[in-house]
């Protein structure tokens, strides 16, 4: 059978990239206050090691990882800690956070300008630097990077896939990073390559970023083992399993991990952060955020300190348009809507999307007409309409049998549904109901 350079299913939501794709990255001035949640990653929360009244310098650790699957956080400005308390978190709920009032320009905790050659570092030293720098997947899922780089014994990884797909509509932070910092991204990739010791690296980029494809292709021309793979534009191509399928033809088993098929996927943003962390021993205190959408007066790609409030960034982009009525951490397909703009940018905040009223209005749900579009687009080859209907009628066990937990919540089904049914929303609810029913002990 022919190796298909794509995955089955998927859809073409309006891209919305034009608002910001050609806007060079701007550095936001330092905010007066930052709010840094101690949990910005998947895994065990880090424990705060500072208290109210402490003076911290930029880059200074303010929380420590107490378990392997955890990463520390660092002060992103220089100033005094005014509170260590629960604050609203962009992923929902309130999370223990360290609030720092900035008092002066950056006083660096350590000197982060001296470059170390990676040849002078052992793999373990590199991994330590990555964990100590607080790096968690920058694509949005925020899984601690050093954990992903430490496959258990018996799992061999033979291919490293770098995710430059950025299939979420509107977002352009990875795109700009590839265009403006290709050398750093490539060095980061080589560090990742050294850690997992693989001979083959594929950088997957969707064809709607021809400039990024060209620059990276030029840059890798002298390098063996690394190739750039242009991919047809289709959501959710950047989902880990779909990207592996599209670039290698391998299918990660249900419930399994990429390492089960010998693959490892890292985001280009992560590669960049790894480069800075390993080469300069610099902690992750800033990232690139796309501030965009119909509700933003002047969309921009902004380099911003972790902990900066959404409001501050929106103001930096000249504020809201008149009809702005929804603000989202992330993109329109999987991002999380915020009640207000008083939430901080975290390590996984790839974008802040503001939509207008007519986009935010929820159309009324109509009955399912079995058009099967959700079935046709589901990248996991599920029957979303059936699963959702079972959940709707509280038949959680039947929903489970149809692969409830294989759903990765990409939202393509809800997007495409002509009846405007809340398919993925039912599925998410179904998962929580199933967990309530069967995982009480946890």
């Amino acid at each position: 059978m022919l190796l298909k350079k794509s995955f089955k299913g998927g859809a073409h939501p309006p891209e919305g990239k034009h608002y910001s794709e050609h806007k060079p990255i701007e550095t936001a001035p330092l905010p007066d206050t930052v709010v840094i949640p101690v949990q910005q990653h998947i895994g065990a929360p880090a424990e705060p090691i500072v208290k109210k009244g402490d003076y911290v310098k930029t880059g200074q650790p303010i929380s420590k990882a107490v378990k392997f699957v955890s990463v520390p956080c660092h002060a992103s400005v220089t100033g005094t800690i005014t509170a260590v308390e629960k604050r609203p978190h962009p992923l929902g709920a309130k999370v223990l956070s360290v609030v720092i009032k900035r008092e002066e320009e950056d006083q660096w905790f350590e000197d982060y300008s001296k470059a170390t050659s990676i040849d002078d570092l052992s793999v373990d030293e590199i991994k330590n630097r990555i964990q100590n720098a607080g790096i968690a997947g920058m694509g949005g899922a925020a899984f601690p990077t050093h954990v992903k780089l430490s496959p258990p014994d018996g799992k061999t990884i033979d291919i490293l896939i770098i995710n430059g797909v950025e299939c979420e509509p509107y977002l352009t932070s990875d795109h700009r990073l590839m265009v403006e910092k290709p050398d750093e991204v490539l060095k980061g990739i080589q560090i990742l390559q050294k850690i997992v010791n693989v001979q083959k690296v594929i950088i997957g980029i969707e064809k709607n970023k021809p400039d990024a494809i060209k620059i990276l292709k030029d840059k890798i021309s002298g390098l063996k083992n690394i190739s750039v793979l242009p991919l047809n534009v289709k959501y959710p191509q950047g989902a880990e399993k779909q990207l592996i399928k599209a670039s290698t033809g391998r299918e990660v088993p249900s419930g399994g991990l990429p390492m089960d098929v010998g693959a490892l996927v890292h985001n280009v943003g992560t590669a960049f952060a790894v480069y800075e962390a390993v080469t300069f021993n610099k902690p992750l205190i800033e990232r690139i955020v796309t501030v965009t959408g119909e509700g933003i007066k002047e969309p921009k790609n902004v380099k911003v300190r972790i902990g900066t409030s959404f409001k501050y960034l929106v103001d930096f982009c000249n504020g809201y348009t008149e009809n702005a009525s929804k603000i989202i951490n992330g993109g329109p397909m999987m991002g999380i809507a915020q009640k207000n703009d008083d939430v901080p940018v975290i390590k996984g905040t790839s974008g802040i999307l503001v939509l207008e009223k007519k986009q935010a209005d929820l159309p009324e749900e109509q009955p399912c007409i079995s058009c099967a579009r959700c079935v046709d687009v589901c990248p996991m080859k599920l029957l979303p309409s059936h699963i959702a209907t079972y959940v709707e009628h509280d038949l959680i066990d039947d929903a489970y049998k149809l692969g409830l937990f294989d759903c990765m919540e990409c939202g393509t089904c809800s997007f495409i549904c002509p009846s405007k049914r809340h398919l993925v929303q039912y599925i998410k609810y179904g998962k929580s109901q199933w967990n309530k029913k069967y995982r009480k002990a946890d």
Binding site: F7, M333, P363, C371
Partner: protein, 341 residues
């Protein structure tokens, strides 16, 4: 400024397509065949179409009023039902017949199950089946000789639709001993002349229900719906393919594999049924394999009825019967989950 925002779970954007857009696309796709019907059968065809559509709309509105639900007749689904039912009627029916048929189709075929999306069978075909069973005479009289042509050379047999001709001729040939030599000769002639009637069948200059005769005009609409991705290729192609294959194998006079496949594909309601009724979203499977099996099943039943059943045509019943298998087809043709065993 303390600004509060709308909060809802992702995704935050929706495709622009909607039920009304789909329904009105189907209506648009059915227009060429309707224009053809008026051309072939006269203005009476238009009256029948209008009466059927209005009856369907009124029936739906009454049901929704009684059930205290929002009246959604503007979504286009009742119009589609009305048009499809009208296309399944001879142009000569008395005008009360479509009223009764549309009412029955909408009430018994759709509303009692909960309205749009919940009906197990195609409401237009339920209406037609009811009329066929109750007033078969009105439903099978095709008085209007189509303008500009008939099936060449078969006027000797007094039936108006090509499939009727076929059915009679086939009966005569199978039991040739009990018919006169002249009848057998005529039947043989008729059978051998079907191949010269492809043009009439394709363009629609033949007798039949008012919307089913012109393959060309129906295909025009079908191509549009396929382009708009409202119907797929799986059901119509597997359906028509099955009919072609089985009629080639079984419908001939000279033993197996001597049948006229093209004649069977082009005549009767197959094109209308395969592209516009078997593909009805609500009453067809949602899985890839399910749709293929659904089409094959429709094809088998159609050929059985046409060749060995009591009616000359089997499209409507085949679709209605296969509608009932949809839950099972979906259940047993679930696609392998990504990464599943």
């Amino acid at each position: 400024m303390d600004k509060n925002f709308y909060v809802s779970p992702s995704p935050h954007i929706k495709d622009r397509d909607s039920i009304p857009k789909i329904m009105y696309s189907v209506i648009l796709a059915l227009v060429p065949a309707g224009v053809g019907a008026v051309y072939f059968f006269g203005i009476r065809a238009l009256y029948v179409i209008i009466i059927t559509v209005l009856s369907a709309l009124v029936s739906e509105a009454i049901c929704q009023k009684i059930m205290k639900r929002p009246v959604t007749i503007t979504d286009g689904s009742a119009i589609v039902t009305g048009i499809l039912l009208a296309y399944n009627l001879p142009a000569e029916v008395p005008f009360w017949l479509p009223v009764v048929g549309a009412f029955f189709g909408i009430v018994i075929g759709k509303a009692v199950f909960g309205g749009l999306g919940f009906n197990p069978m195609n409401p237009a075909l339920i209406g037609r089946a009811f009329l066929m069973a109750s007033w078969p005479v009105y439903m099978t009289v095709f008085n209007t000789v189509p303008k500009n042509g008939t099936l060449s050379g078969i006027s000797a047999i007094t039936s108006a639709t090509p499939l009727n001709v076929f059915k009679h001729a086939r009966e005569i040939l199978i039991n040739s001993s009990s018919f006169s030599t002249q009848q057998v000769t005529e039947a043989t002639n008729a059978m051998s002349q079907f191949s010269s009637s492809y043009g009439s069948l394709f363009w629609g200059k033949v007798g039949g229900c008012l919307g089913e005769t012109s393959a060309a005009l129906l295909l025009l609409g079908a191509v549009f719906l396929m382009y708009k991705r409202i119907i797929g290729w799986k059901i119509p192609f597997s359906y028509i393919g099955t009919v072609a294959l089985l009629s080639w194998i079984f419908s001939g006079n000279d033993g197996l594999f001597s049948g006229d496949a093209l004649f069977h594909v082009l005549s009767g309601g197959l094109i209308l049924g395969a592209f516009f009724m078997a593909t009805d979203m609500v009453t067809s499977p949602i899985t890839f394999k399910g749709r293929i099996f659904f089409g094959i099943g429709c094809g088998i039943i159609t050929v059985i009825i046409r060749l060995w059943g009591g009616y000359p045509e089997g499209v409507s019943y085949s679709i209605l019967l296969m509608n009932l298998t949809v839950p099972l087809l979906d259940k047993f043709s679930r696609p392998k989950t990504f990464g599943g065993k």
